[in-house]
């Protein structure tokens, strides 16, 4: 094709140098793919974990949260006194302050043993934080004494068969009146949704205590100004925006527990492995083609021209390696979609990984460039 004739030879030289030794090229691509798949999985788990730890906060329709002082995360079962609710309601702009009770309890299995569950409750009449993705049963039935909602992914764990199944929580009989899909807990302890009064009984919260108040403002009320007023009257608790509560929960679970650091460490390890593999291959390829680079230098090529050849080699490796890694990443996403902690790939993350791969490969080219910079073009006379 005519357009090929006028294309710079930089690309052709890079491509041919790269494919000249197919085995080495395959080794490079495997290194990049391994590295990027590892980073994809670690970052995908990080994203998934990040979403899961804030799922309850995301689903609650709150303008502000009244939380126990120094609450670390949503799952921190401290208490707020009911009087705080009335103090909150006395502030202009506050429409509702809905109590939320959470806490750990024991679910008695039909086989006789017990398994821990995490109770989540709000007023079933006005809502606030009710289960979502209900696939069987009716949310209104949660007002019935003993009614609970569980996720279908925990049927085996809870020893139930689904809607209508019976069990006991803290020696009180319960019946599954609603079944959800996809409400998974990152702690592996199943969520059990129920009414406020039952939740108090299940987790042992005194009647004058609650875990959180979910504050809804009257239309047009200023969030920051109302929050300041609430802070002034609430002596025993903190007032957080949903974003602040999310950040606090994420910070605790991802960094307070070390889980996030472990995921980041895995991703970093993947990047280091990839960088070393690509650097080693580019260096050895450059060394093999040193004579050619010296010839280029002798016939007058600028250092920039030679650097471009090496960087193109790195970019080609990056793009080919990334495409394969992204394909494997999508397979992993699909395979883990129904698991307790699915790997997530977002378009932004994919774009970020492409940039990361390119940066990693170009950085890897440094050692090869340093080698080329030391070439003495006079070597063409001695070989």
């Amino acid at each position: 094709m005519p357009w090929q004739n006028v294309m710079s030879l930089i690309f052709k030289l890079s491509w041919r140098n790269l494919f000249h030794d197919r085995l080495r090229f395959v080794a490079t691509v495997i290194g990049i793919v391994f590295s990027i798949v590892l980073v994809t999985v670690q970052m995908g788990l990080f994203l998934s974990f990040e979403r899961m730890v804030t799922a309850m906060i995301d689903r609650a329709s709150a303008d502000l949260w009244i939380v126990p002082r120094d609450a670390k995360c949503f799952e921190d079962p401290s208490f707020v006194d009911e009087r705080e609710r009335f103090r909150a309601l006395s502030i202009n702009g506050v429409a509702e302050a809905l109590p939320i009770v959470i806490g750990f309890a024991q679910w008695r299995l039909p086989s006789g043993g017990t398994t821990p569950v995490f109770i989540v409750s709000s007023d079933t009449r006005v809502g606030g934080l009710r289960p979502w993705n209900v696939v069987e049963g009716n949310l209104a039935d949660l007002a019935v004494p003993g009614a609970v909602a569980i996720d279908q992914s925990y049927f085996d764990r809870l020893g139930t068969t689904g809607l209508g199944a019976r069990a006991e929580i803290r020696d009180q009989k319960v019946e599954v009146m609603a079944v959800t899909k996809g409400i998974r807990a990152f702690t592996t302890t199943p969520y059990v949704f129920t009414s406020l009064d039952q939740a108090r009984a299940f987790v042992g919260t005194p009647p004058n205590k609650t875990t959180y108040f979910l504050v809804r403002l009257v239309p047009g009320a200023n969030v920051q100004s109302t929050r300041s007023q609430l802070r002034a009257v609430l002596s025993e608790s903190e007032v957080l925006t949903p974003d602040e509560f999310r950040r606090r929960s994420r910070s605790f679970w991802l960094f307070g527990t070390g889980a996030g650091a472990a995921l980041f460490a895995g991703a970093l390890l993947g990047m280091i492995v990839g960088t070393v593999v690509v650097a080693q291959t580019l260096y050895s390829s450059t060394k093999d083609h040193l004579n050619e680079f010296a010839t280029l230098r002798a016939i007058g090529s600028s250092a920039k021209y030679i650097h471009k050849v090496i960087i193109f080699q790195a970019l080609l490796s990056a793009v080919i390696g990334f495409c394969i890694a992204a394909g494997i990443g999508l397979i992993i996403v699909d395979a883990t979609a129904e698991s307790a902690l699915p790997v997530i790939m977002t378009p932004m993350m994919t774009l970020g990984l492409l940039l990361l791969t390119i940066i990693m490969c170009v950085m890897s080219a440094t050692s090869a460039i340093v080698k080329v910079m030391r070439i003495d073009p006079a070597m063409v006379f001695t070989r």
Partner: protein
Amino acid sequence: MTKIVAEAVDVVKTLGHGAGKVQALRGVSLALAGGELALLMGPSGSGKTTLLSILGCILSPTSGTVRVCGQSTANMQPEDMAQVRRDHVGFIFQSYHLFPTLTAADNVRVALDVRGERSRSAIGKTKEALATVGLGRKMKSFPRELSGGEQQRVAIARAIVGNPSVILADEPTSALDSENGQAIMTVLAQIAREQSRGVLVVTHDPRIFPFANRIIRIEDGRIVGEEKGRAGLS
């Protein structure tokens, strides 16, 4: 008056450091004129290749002056030296130094590519250079598909495609049989004569004497003799 295309004046070159220090050139002066084919002869270690490298702006002299097409190379940085090579010098090497993964045409075009010449005229110049060395029909052949003589002709085409004033050849016939050696020298002599380029050939090969206008002898880093070649006499 014949134009001087490359000139060395009282050039000294010291190689190595400390105990390994060697004075490869000891005050060499040499001028190469356009249209001339000169042979540089001497025993191994006499400084032939060092002088070729200095005239070709690959090495800088320790002292003395080098001018290529009137341009002094004094105090030039490596990138400036590369620019001089790009603009004025064509190299031909003993072992060809072709790119094994590129076709003959691309091997020639690379000399234009490094100069940033990527227009369609680059294709025309490439074809013309290959035709000049008699390889117009082998443009798409890879070096492994060419004989030694043909590979050296591709190297000559690469050296002349950028239209340099100076062609420097390092033992261009030593890896070739007599017939191919004669053919290569015929091409080089023709390039010097018809295109007014200065061609300096480092050689040990007495079979190529008939092609020279001038034969320069170097020993122990000094020019020890100069004589007119048969082509110079005719």
